[in-house]
Symmetry: C2
């Protein structure tokens, strides 16, 4: 065992330059899933991943069709029935590169400058996908794989994974496993390995308010009908109290309290008010005063207006009294909130507060529950130890504000928890121009994953 | 005198078919002032009006350039210095015809069906302009004109008369008069001649709220910054109390109380809640409960959201936390509110209520005061008698919710009141497809104007 560990680590270090060259090839494929003209590039990226898996000795590798871009699957079950089976999740698609003129080198040139590899998808998440494969390669070249492995690498994460739920459901047997590894979350600093144990869920709605049956002249009718834009503003304004709490009836009923130990752990992350002010550029912070910003984004549910449209919004003025108004409103959910409950709470709030001078409609667009993993599970412990061995520092535990629906889907459909980690850094410009991957952190990540798989062997 | 009256009325009746043919020619010119490609049509309409004036025997007729479409001017000063001088206002431009496919006959075909002439501008206000000219023609063909006359027919009313204020200021001497006649307001029913003695003013603003300095991920930052869309909703929601009163500090301070006599007069109009429900199609009416709808639209100031835009408003969902939000907000003003005061009141309201976690900007776009005319002036009396003689019914006195800035400009720059009337009906589809002019009402209108000019002679 120790033999395989040191041999695998040594192999990874000796082959680091080749690993980087391979990553550059991967990043150079413009697999932008939002762009319908990139279909062939998506296919190419899927084939590239499949070939990597085959070269690594993974069995039964297939590029499987979905309603959209294909899923790459592969497995290695040679560790036997007593060894755990880890399902490794990843995605080979990337965000668009716009605005391209803000990039210092071409988004698909995969240029190394200093300690970083620059390119769209370098950190989100081609680097993370390849780190997993390279860790497996290093182990496979230096002994038998210590665990059974399955790979599920999709091509539609950046467009909201519209076909993934169906795929998982239809291939439940194929994907059966004991735990999932999701390296699509990041670290909070290069010297601070991080495990994300909580992810927020999402409930997303479009609310439309209707008043008069046609646009009116504001001079002729203003003051006699409930202006739908105003009515929707009133409804939205009432969704928070003056302390930033959400007022939907029952919204907090199932919210799991933050334990003192968790709060202490979160405060150790050092992401204080100054960091939030700097990262947002807002004139001041806002929100529930009894929680720190890091708690508000990760451990507390929130409600945001994502968009609002009504009436005349062009240049100049038009004295229209609009006949309708629309808002996109979404809630980030925490355990144990149920997206269905939140839908009902929104409907109840509207029924309680809407005036009889308007009508309204609500479309439910997305509903995914929050997920939280057991921080004391053997899988999380395996990752904790793996990271500590590499960084000489205990990893931090983080709850993340975003939603990673696949984590919830694995919980719901496959009945397994995910170990959420990754080697992306906050300044990696994810989704922005000049996306980059910090290479020293990436190499440490490969080492950590080698350790992780070995630690799982027990 | 009596001789000229009966002769002029008889002349008008005998020439009614020719008057209609001339109006059809006028309506057939697509003088859409909002459409930059219609510049030649606007010029043609101006020339057409100028020729009509010349044919009527009006002197000094000129098509005068402005920064936009020209103004047609003409005068007849033969009644001498002791006779009053009436400035007749009108506009030869029309609204766009969209959506064209909803018209039963082409918008510029000027088709007569039943008692109505259909065409864009038939009632707003080519019919009204020509009624004034034809009344003058009927008088001029049957004696000397009883009053001095000046015509000011502009071509930019439907785009907010951007060059008219400057024109009036620069031609103050030329336009000097004792009273203005503005036939651009209408009647409330074919059997109810109407004089509009009050018009609301307008103050129009764009309010922009800024929060974070870039769009944020709602999962990563939601709950820590004051969402600008939400903040603007909160500010807008607070601009009315639960009874529909505007809460801007001092908003009602200068509002002239409605006198009991006026309220009785307004209620005589018969425009009750059922009429407003029918005309708006709203599920229920809304507004200040202590005032009837007709009082709310005409005699009370109001505040409306004319437009609102923030964040993602396309199909589907995007979990953006927008960096800014914009609303168009306008107030209809009544005597003696000052648009400048209202600007200050809005700024004060925002200063008092905006959170320190956002920034905001306010652009003032339009500011025109309300106007109210002396219902007992000799000019109004002359119109009252003129209408009663034609309809055998005392005209109703109305305050209108809309704003006719030229009335305020005549007051401010020329120091004269306007007699506001006209022969448009509520179902004339002004600004909508199938605009029409009710011909029996139009002919009565010409008769009434003949009487009006003769009554002014004293």
């Amino acid at each position: 065992m120790t033999n395989q560990r040191s041999a695998a680590l040594q192999y990874a270090h000796e082959n680091s330059d080749r690993f980087l060259e391979e990553l550059k090839d991967f990043v150079a494929i413009p697999s932008i899933s939002t762009d319908p003209e990139r279909k062939a590039d998506l296919q190419q990226a899927a084939d590239w991943v499949a070939q990597q898996l085959r070269d690594t000795g993974i069995q039964n590798v297939k590029v499987m069709p979905t309603g959209g871009h294909p899923v790459v699957y592969g497995e290695s079950l040679s560790a036997g029935e007593t060894a755990p089976t880890v399902l490794i999740y990843g995605h080979y698609d990337v965000q668009p590169a716009d605005p391209v003129d803000l990039w210092k080198s071409g988004p698909f040139e995969a240029e190394v400058r200093g300690d970083n590899l620059y390119g769209r998808g370098a950190t989100d998440m081609k680097g993370q996908v390849l780190a997993s494969i390279k860790a497996v390669e290093a182990l496979a070249r230096n002994g038998a794989l210590p665990v059974n492995l399955k790979f599920l690498i999709e091509g539609e994460e950046e467009v909201g994974s519209p076909n993934l739920g169906k795929f998982i459901r239809e291939h439940k047997e194929l994907l059966a496993c004991d735990v999932a590894l999701n390296p699509d979350t990041g670290m909070i600093a290069p010297d601070k390995p991080t495990i994300t144990y909580g992810l927020r869920g999402l409930a997303y709605f479009e609310v439309r308010v209707y008043g008069p049956d046609h646009d009116l002249h504001s001079g002729v009718f203003g003051g006699t009908v409930h202006n739908p834009a105003q009515a929707l503003c009133e409804l939205i304004a009432g969704m928070h109290d003056s302390n930033g709490h959400v007022t939907l009836p029952g919204f907090y009923d199932k919210v799991r309290d933050l334990e003192e130990e968790e709060r202490a752990e979160l405060s150790r992350l050092g992401v204080n008010e100054a960091v939030y002010l700097d990262q947002t550029g807002a004139p001041a912070l806002w929100g529930e005063p009894e929680y720190a910003p890091i708690e508000r984004t990760g451990a507390r549910p929130t409600l945001e207006v994502n968009g609002f449209l009504s009436g005349f919004v062009g240049e100049g003025g038009k004295t229209v009294l609009p006949s309708k108004a629309m808002a996109k409103i979404s809630m980030r959910l925490v355990p144990d909130q149920d997206p269905e409950d939140v839908h009902e709470q929104l409907l109840q709030y509207l029924a309680d507060n809407a005036s009889n001078a308007i009508r309204y409609e609500v479309d439910k667009m997305v509903g995914s529950p929050a997920s939280i993993s057991d921080r004391n599970s053997s899988y999380v412990k395996a990752m904790e130890d793996a990271m500590e061995a590499v960084w000489n520092s205990k990893p931090l535990f983080k709850r993340e504000g975003g939603s990673v629906p696949v984590v919830g889907q694995f919980q719901e459909i496959l009945g397994v928890e995910s170990v959420n980690t990754g080697f992306a850094l906050p300044d990696d410009n994810m989704h922005s121009p000049n996306e980059k991957l910090h290479l020293p952190t990436w190499y440490r990540g490969i080492d950590a994953l080698i350790n992780f798989f070995l630690n799982l062997e027990g």
